[in-house]
Symmetry: C2
Subunit: 186 residues, 2 copies
DNA sequence: GTGATTCCATACGCTACCGTATGGATCACA
DNA sequence: TGTGATCCATACGGTAGCGTATGGAATCAC
């Protein structure tokens, strides 16, 4: 399934964890099963991590960094305001399955995980709040009042999440969101 | 946790399954654990169901019936068009946790379950399609073209789902959706 | 009330996973 | 090439859940 015989780094386990999470949900985060997928044994796991909780914490750290900062960094050079938001739509709807770590495909599993794991919930909430604040900033730069922009951002981000859950085509989703931006802008 | 000593019906196991699903996700659908919650043993389970797959199938039947038809029946007497949609917003955002079966709180878990269980995915997709068609009907009755109404409905329903995932207050969510209806209507 | 049916408790073997302990393989580097 | 550090395979005991088999309790028919 993966490279046959090679020494693994801690990050390899983290990425394999995301693949498992994407493919089978939180219940698939089992040490021995993932070890088999990596062509190794749990001997490797317990070298890199103290226990499954440690592993999951490392995954969450990784995700919080990736899910928020890296996308925004890509948008930073773009002109502020609604153009930046439209660029975000293209990025967000086009986020395909990343074979390395599952990419955005891991998010639904993470959100469900967050429902009954308070620490995960805290992280997802931070990421959501950060993203919504970013979108709100776009609307503000587009001329909205702060309070209005916050509402617009919340609705926009909710639509983005919901469209993702409906699993339509990226093009259709992007079209929907562009129209929403237009409507919110007026 | 539940009634101490009483004979259980098949439906009791189905409802207990939804409570477990709501509280702990798909991974919590384990026979012996739920049996303990019901104050019984798996002896009862294997009397009412042939195996866990049978149990889950019964839960899905139950949900598909409840999640779609019952809400629409409540809306049927209302005047068609956007008023009916606004009533739906009030119902949908106000759906609290139902101690019997988890109510709408079970939906996120079901959606995540659907991601890696094709049969569940088919059911969720049917329910979504039905709901979106209903919403589209409201927009059509409000004067939209069929194709436009379909897009409006998709966006509206996505926003409804996304706001639910964000776990804001019902009032805020309802307010957001009302504004969205206004915008879409124009 | 008694016999049949319905429903459940318990015990058993099986599998999968966790966590640890220990020795061996592989690598970096001199 | 040797030596310490790094990384992993294996074996073991413990726990939890599945599925079945079987006897017993509760309930219903009459």
């Amino acid at each position: 399934m993966d490279k046959p015989t090679q020494r693994l780094r801690r990050e390899d386990w983290i990425l394999a964890g995301f693949r498992a999470l994407t493919a089978g949900g939180v219940g698939a985060l089992r040490v021995e099963a993932v070890a088999r997928g990596l062509g190794t044994t749990k001997g490797s796991f317990y070298w890199h991590f103290s226990d499954p909780a440690d592993w999951r914490a490392a995954m969450l750290d990784y995700w919080e960094d990736m899910a928020f900062r890296r996308i925004l960094v890509a948008l930073d050079p773009l002109p502020a305001g609604l153009p930046r938001l439209r660029a975000l739509v293209k990025i967000a709807t086009g986020l395909a399955y990343d074979p390395a770590h599952g990419g955005a495909a891991a998010e639904p599993a993470l959100r469900e995980w967050a429902r009954f794991a308070p620490d995960v919930g805290a992280i997802v909430q931070r990421v959501d709040a950060g993203r919504i604040a970013f979108v709100a900033g776009c609307f503000e730069a587009g001329g909205s009042e702060a309070a209005t922009a916050a509402q617009q951002a919340r609705l926009f981000y909710a639509a983005l999440l919901g469209l993702g859950a409906l699993r339509g085509s990226p093009d259709t989703d992007a079209q929907c969101l562009m129209r929403l931006i237009d409507m919110l802008d007026k």
